[in-house]
Symmetry: C2
Subunit: 207 residues, 2 copies
């Protein structure tokens, strides 16, 4: 499969926010930015995540294209349900894909490099699945809740309150512009942030 | 056509960022947020725009669903080219649609209310067209350049430099995450802002 064919599956030039599914034994899903530049595709995975461990071991994963805010938010903080996955055969094994994605593209890793904090890899598309899918107008509430999730993961890492302000601003847009699914995702995000706050505050108490 | 059918054409619950085409005689295109709530759909159009004049006169328009940043940015600051439009028959007249949209939905206005600055209307879907389209992964650079355009129109109205900072922050995301089409849209936006600055500065000199 040529890299240029990825256009058809929604993975275009620039950074595509996709949900990466990995793990031949225990399927895992996590949102990630996939970089396509000059007809090459790359990922960077940070140490300590299940995705990192799975991809390091199997050197294969799927990039699932979806606009569903609930899938993004749920997979940011925990794993998805078994029923969210389906399986695609690959060389006598099977790769987990998201059942309800618009498309899923299977990649293998080439040229893996390890740094202290992360692994980077050039990735090669091996095959793709296109599901039924409906177009959707741009909704500022959708991207805002995904931005808020990015800030939440940074807050979790750093405990820096500035991220809480950024999250508030994003979710203001989500409550103003989003539909019910975006608002449900925002609720889950707010609950997760409450949990993170406990650990951040707890961490501070014991310092 | 039922409001619930709009899901199929990408106009879901919440605020959909669409490109509104109007004008039975001289076609015009402008980006706008279309509000769908509790199975009703509304628009608000500000006085002084071609869209306002067209919709006030014809009481009919099309909402075009697209993720093309160039169509959004170009139609924010000027009109699109003749070749960007196509026409759809309606009651012995014809409505302009965008040729390259994913979908186009024709609405008529019901319950128009006029205020000092704007008109608001409940709008009723009359028919829809679905074109060939490809799915696209969420790209933060795409929404960022559209957010930047919203800030630019506010800067044009107010001359408030705070909007320039917000635009810078958005375009940083566009240059980092966007593809070539998002970057081209950002270039057009920056040129437009230079033009607006001249008027803002010029206006200040003569005060």
């Amino acid at each position: 499969m040529e890299v240029s064919e990825l256009d058809k599956y929604g993975i275009c030039d620039g950074i595509s926010e996709i949900i990466l599914t990995s793990g031949m034994k225990n399927p895992n899903a996590a949102p990630i930015g996939l970089i396509r530049k000059d007809n090459r595709v790359f990922i960077r995975l940070y140490r300590g995540s299940t995705t990192y461990e799975n991809v390091k071991q199997d050197e294969v994963f799927a990039a699932n294209v979806t606009c569903d805010p609930l899938l993004f938010i749920k997979s940011t903080f925990s794993n998805l349900e078994d029923e969210d996955f389906k399986y695609h055969p690959l060389n006598s094994k099977s790769i987990p894909l998201l059942k309800n994605s618009a498309t899923s593209v299977i990649f293998i890793c080439d040229e893996i490099k390890h740094t202290k904090q992360a692994m980077t890899a050039e990735i090669i598309p091996m095959g793709a699945v296109a599901n039924d899918y409906l177009p959707r107008a741009i909704n500022r509430g959708l991207t805002a809740v995904i931005e808020a999730a990015v800030h939440a993961t940074r807050y979790k890492l750093t405990g820096n309150n500035e991220f809480l302000d950024l999250i508030d601003r994003c979710l203001e847009t989500t409550y103003k512009c989003g539909g019910q699914r975006e608002k449900d995702a925002a609720e889950i995000l707010l609950n997760e942030i409450d949990e993170i706050k406990k650990h951040v505050d707890g961490g501070k108490d014991t310092e």
